[in-house]
């Protein structure tokens, strides 16, 4: 630790004379173009190797993705998820040494309905993202946030039977053949999806319902939290209906550090390990993994720039918001400011998060479902009788929600405009 500080101070004096060019710390030959972790200067080639290697090492170390498994990549279009997509392409390519072996699909969620974008802007953004997705040659699903009103929870035996049947008819094939079959099956599915998309799943009623939902939430903090929950539900729903068992999210180290601190402020301390860890198995059948969690935003931005990884910037709920507009924004600004003066900030938070473990064993699908929060699916950390707040609507969801989701709901003026599937699930749980 002391040594790191010394080197940093030395480097500060060194950089005062910009005419002296620094050599790469790895190959010691080429001129460095980038500094990461405050002290390590890398040249272009060594940085590329380091970046690619980190992705493979992250997946290899954790051994959670099995060959032939269907993995859904959640691509928002932003730099981190676009970078993740390019790493997956790199890892799955034929000439990669010890290539990765799983079957990828991509999901992109258009959230313009919640952030108040015009239809024209949304169409343009989706078209840009789609052209990036199409160039990957993986099946992709473009889902609109409005579709939360169309979700019907599938818990029936017929869906599971269909998935089992596909696996059974194909499992005796040689792995490569299995992969090819899976790919062609998925491609035909994705064409269907695209066609469904063309026949317009966004109706004005759906968009208005969504806008009404978000307008009923008073604070930006609660809006962002609700958006995160709905996004998660949509991704899970797509994963389940299309038969994906893993979902890869593109959260970077910096984002996760910010998420860790804001989640504590939001009252989600109990689920920190799951929210920021490498794998999140609270949903049982679908596991969420975060392979980008070792990369800082700086590394991702530089890699994308230097190696032409296309990404699309889509304005969201908090674009151009002030620092104090929401807890999440405030935390982000705090961490970023601290990071400039103390470059070990993000990595220290990250390393602390790695040491977190869930206190009780992870829930599996066999345990009673009333132990899980209705919205975020973490274990309930409240007693039903505890809450004292006045609920404006007749529906009493309090007993089914964790502390933090209760706070989000409390910020809503009416609870009955929540999407149908949430209300139906609440009814189902209450009847037990």
């Amino acid at each position: 630790m002391c040594q790191v500080d010394e080197e940093y101070n030395g480097q500060l004096e060194h950089v005062a004379t910009p005419s002296v060019s620094k050599k790469c710390v790895k190959c010691k030959e080429s001129t460095a173009v980038l500094i990461i972790r405050a002290v390590d200067a890398f040249c272009r080639c060594c940085f590329k190797e380091y970046f690619i290697h980190k992705f493979r090492a992250m997946l290899g170390k954790n051994r959670i993705i099995f060959p032939g498994e269907k993995v859904l990549l959640a691509v928002s279009g932003g730099p981190a998820s676009s970078s993740m997509l390019s790493q997956v392409k790199e890892g799955l390519s034929r000439d990669a040494p010890k290539k990765l072996r799983f079957v990828p699909g991509i999901i992109h969620i258009d959230e313009g309905g919640a952030s108040g974008q015009s239809m024209e802007d949304r169409r343009r953004a989706v078209a840009q993202v789609e052209s990036v997705l199409r160039s990957s040659n993986y099946p992709y699903h473009i889902v609109y946030l409005e579709q939360v009103s169309c979700i019907k929870l599938q818990t029936g035996p017929s869906y599971k039977a269909a998935v089992d049947q596909f696996i059974q008819t194909n499992q005796n094939l040689h792995p490569d053949l299995f992969l090819e079959n899976a790919w062609s099956h998925l491609s035909s599915l994705s064409m269907q999806e695209v066609q469904n998309g063309l026949s317009n799943p966004i109706t004005p009623e759906n968009t208005q319902a969504l806008q009404r939902l978000f307008a009923s939430v008073r604070t930006l903090t609660a809006k962002e939290d609700l958006l995160q929950t709905l996004r998660q539900h949509l991704i899970l729903h797509t994963a389940r209906t299309e038969g994906y068992t893993k979902v890869m999210m593109g959260d970077s180290c910096s984002r996760l550090a910010i998420k860790l601190l804001s989640n504590i402020s939001l009252g989600r301390g109990a689920s920190l390990a799951m929210d920021t860890g490498f794998s999140d198995s609270r949903y049982g059948d679908v596991v969420i993994v975060r392979p980008m969690r070792d990369y800082s935003s700086k590394e991702i931005a530089y890699y994308n720039r230097m190696f032409d990884v296309p990404s699309v910037f889509i304005p969201g709920l908090d674009t151009k918001a002030q620092d104090k507009a929401s807890i999440q924004r405030l935390t982000e600004s705090f961490v970023n400011k601290l990071q400039t003066d103390f470059p070990a900030t993000v990595s220290t938070i990250y390393r602390t998060s790695e040491k977190l473990h869930t206190a009780c064993p992870p829930q599996n699908t066999n345990s009673p479902t009333f132990d899980k929060c209705l919205m975020c699916a973490c274990s309930l950390d409240t007693n039903a009788g505890e809450s004292h707040c006045q609920m404006p609507a007749t529906l009493d969801l309090k007993s089914l929600l964790c502390y933090s989701c209760r706070l989000t709901i409390k910020d809503m003026t009416a609870v009955d405009i929540l999407p149908q599937y949430i209300l139906a699930e609440a009814e189902r749980k209450k009847r037990r």
Binding site: A32, L34, I35, A301, F313, P315, T319
Partner: protein, 101 residues
């Protein structure tokens, strides 16, 4: 430096929203007796290019934390950050890594 300096500026990651959505700018910095450095460039950008919300781009003397700066495709930390002296035909890129841009 007596001659005016031509620069190619780029904005990405959402920073372009503060510049009317325009990502690429070719600018010519006027003559002055001392050489142009990054610190002065930021002042110049704030005065001439920035269309709204300056606090989202510049903070004090330097860029807002979370905005990365690349000079000729190299990290500006390697070039002296604000003290770097601009040369003719330099390429300066500002990429925002913040959530909402």
């Amino acid at each position: 430096m007596a001659a005016p300096i031509a620069l190619h500026l780029e904005f990405g990651g959402g920073a372009e929203l503060l510049f009317d959505g325009v990502k690429e700018h070719h600018v010519i910095l006027p003559d002055q007796s001392e050489p142009w450095d990054m610190k002065q460039l930021l002042v110049w950008i704030r005065a001439n290019l920035l269309k709204e919300r300056p606090e989202l781009f510049v903070q004090g003397d330097t860029v807002r934390p979370g905005i990365l700066v690349l000079i000729n495709d190299a990290d500006w930390e390697l070039m002296g950050e604000l003290r770097y002296e601009l040369q003719d035909q330099d390429n300066v890129v500002f990429i925002s890594t913040l959530h909402g841009g």
